[in-house]
């Protein structure tokens, strides 16, 4: 609080995104000194490309959390997406149709979540917990004893290919960032998202539907999860029913580290971008230092809870 006042920053959110940015810079310096293989051109591109998958699901997650919601089904939906995409391609479906099918599955699951949350006022973490079980189970059933590996060079180019020297996934993530930034801060839709978290009554009084906007936000999260699943399938050159399990954890952590709050619709996409990079750098550096994934998860969990606790302190009067 006092720090925010002394630095004359507009609010705690900005401060926290700034803090995360400083932590990111510090982390890059530490890893650059600790391992010679970290700050190389190849690894910088590697980290940037890897971060795109997380960013694509973390950006819509920011909107979901701004509406005082949560989507725990994201990881399972991404995994299911890779299986659906691979099954469709293996069955001889044309690439554009397979992509459309995958986006449709993601969007439908998301819209279903949104309908239960918005239409009936059921707590989102329980609805999406159920969807997580259903989507994860269908991914396992769909992949059951089927060959889902080897999708062809046309698909893997989605991950490996470069346009003007920049990897394709980076273009996709950048386009999504720009699109969602416009939607959130320069369109009526964004006003509605902020009101969903800050003041639902105002939205209702303005004659706009609360349920409809919630369906849209969750459906967006589902479509983006499907988009991430396409890139993930291209990366692993196949479908895998557990490829992205737990991805929602990284996404939620990225959002809260970036300073988005679970109350009052306060959030920024820039903070989420910083949080995403922080988590990806942390994981990459810990990988290079040969620390196992389970330790990485625990570290990210502690970081996220610390960020939430800091945010909660800042909000106290």
């Amino acid at each position: 609080m006092t720090a925010a006042r002394i630095l004359n920053l507009p609010n705690v959110r900005t401060l926290q995104a700034g803090g995360a940015l400083m932590a990111l810079i510090a982390l890059v310096c530490i890893f650059a000194l600790a391992t010679p293989s970290f700050f190389t051109t190849a690894n910088v591109w590697n980290v940037t490309t890897q971060a795109t998958l997380l960013l694509i699901v973390a950006l819509p997650m920011t909107m979901v959390i701004m509406t005082e919601g949560l989507d725990l089904s994201i990881g399972a939906v991404v995994s299911l997406g890779t299986v659906v995409f691979a099954l469709a391609l293996k069955a001889g479906v044309a690439l554009p149709a397979a992509v459309a099918l995958c986006l449709l599955v993601g969007g439908t699951l998301g819209a279903f979540n949104g309908a239960l949350v918005g239409g009936l006022g059921i707590p989102p973490f329980v609805v999406t917990l159920g969807t997580m079980g259903v989507a994860g189970g269908f991914a396992l059933v769909g992949a059951d004893e089927r060959d889902l590996v080897g999708l062809g060079a046309g698909v893997t180019a989605l991950w490996n290919g470069r346009l003007v020297g920049v990897p394709v996934p980076v273009w996709v993530a950048a386009a999504l960032y720009a699109l969602l930034h416009l939607a959130l801060f320069h369109a009526r839709f964004g006003m509605a998202v902020v009101s969903l978290g800050g003041n639902r009554e105002a939205l209702r009084l303005a004659g706009r539907t609360v349920a409809g906007h919630l369906v849209a936000v969750y459906a967006l999260a589902g479509v983006c999860a499907a988009l991430a699943s396409l890139l993930l399938a291209a990366r692993i050159d196949g479908g895998n029913p557990t490829a992205a399990s737990g991805m929602e954890f990284d996404a939620i952590a990225a959002v809260v580290i970036g300073g988005t709050s679970f109350v009052k619709g306060r959030g920024t996409l820039f903070g989420t971008l910083v949080g995403t990079l922080l988590i990806t750098v942390l994981r990459n550096g810990m990988n290079l230092l040969a620390l196992t994934s389970s330790i990485q998860v625990a570290a990210i969990g502690v970081l996220a809870i610390a960020a939430l606790a800091l945010g909660a302190r800042g909000q106290r009067p």
Partner: protein, 313 residues
């Protein structure tokens, strides 16, 4: 006789009827379902799940949620297994599991109460942290082969009835008395119904919330002991599928996600119903991949009815 006609008893009887109908249907459709041996298998499964779900029931009645219980079971069971292998003393193992479970519950309570992180995010975070610790601790291995005396806790029979059923019955009785016949129990209902009113009526809200999260963690540790005795092997994935099942059991048992209403007896019925369904799927040779689909669908259906009922009120 008054209590028999209360709202809660009526919904409980209704659920009992639903369970009876489903069991009857299974007995007709599924081949070796209606044997005494299979009934005992189902009862044992339901009792194991109840140990985990009863603590969660109190948390949900108080208007909270504990997503960390599945990971808690994994870590507690692994620690218990390691402790028993190191010392050869079953009691040390039980102590390790219960202490680990209660400690995780305490961490949840502090993160929620002192750091003011929303319950579902806090317990979701601790779930992954505990999950990570369990995987790091086990390093991909499993620990198996425990003393026959210890294994009796999970696999033994007393008078033809599995031992876990007796453990479950003890906790059901004690828990129900605690919830319905003590001031603390009633305060937990009051907090779930309306925390502000409870606070204004002099209920120590923060203290009671701490209590329910510690109890939830402690019961997860205890459930870990009995699961370990039943499975005779511990690995870091042991409790992974249990959190969703426990949430499903509590919700079908009639405990409202919005807090303030529910019962442990209902939760046992929920555990039994879930065990019946999963057992029947098993007997029919349905792939285990379908289990999370059915469990997830049950969770969604339960909250759907809960939400519709709330809207009618």
């Amino acid at each position: 006789m008054m209590t028999l006609y209360s709202e809660q008893s009526r919904t409980l009887l209704l659920r009992l009827a639903v369970v009876a109908v489903i069991c009857a249907a299974m007995a007709v459709v599924v081949e070796p379902f209606d044997t005494a041996g299979n009934l005992m298998t189902v009862l044992r499964q339901a009792s194991l799940l109840f140990l985990l779900a009863c603590g969660l029931t109190l948390v949900i009645i108080a208007g909270g949620l504990d997503l960390s219980i599945g990971a808690n079971v994994s870590l507690s069971a692994c620690l218990a297994a390691a402790a028993m292998k190191a010392t050869g003393q079953p009691l040390v193992g039980v102590g390790a599991a219960v202490a680990c479970g209660a400690l995780i519950g305490l961490v949840n309570a502090l993160v929620i109460g002192v750091l003011r992180v929303p319950a579902f995010v806090a317990t979701y975070g601790t779930m992954w942290i505990v999950h990570g610790i369990a995987y790091a601790f086990m390093g991909g291995d499993s620990i198996y082969g425990f003393s026959p005396a210890f294994r009796q806790l999970g696999t033994g029979f007393l008078a033809g009835v599995p031992v876990p059923v007796f453990i479950m019955a003890g906790f059901l009785l004690m828990g129900s008395l605690f919830a319905h016949r003590t001031v603390w129990g009633q305060q937990i209902y009051a907090i779930g119904a309306n925390p502000t009113v409870a606070h204004l009526s002099g209920v120590p809200v923060a203290r009671r919330l701490e209590l329910v999260y510690v109890l939830s963690g402690l019961m997860a540790g205890l459930a870990a002991v009995v699961y370990l005795a039943r499975l005779n092997s511990a690995d870091a994935e042991l409790g992974d599928s249990l959190m969703l099942q426990a949430v499903a059991a509590v919700l079908i048992g009639g405990t409202s996600l919005f807090g303030g209403s529910g019962s442990l007896a209902g939760t046992f019925l929920g555990c039994f119903l879930l065990a019946v369904v999963l057992n029947a799927m098993n007997l029919q040779g349905v792939s285990a991949s379908w289990q999370p689909i059915v469990t997830g669908a049950i969770v969604i259906a339960s909250v759907l009815f809960d939400g519709l009922a709330k809207r009618r009120r």
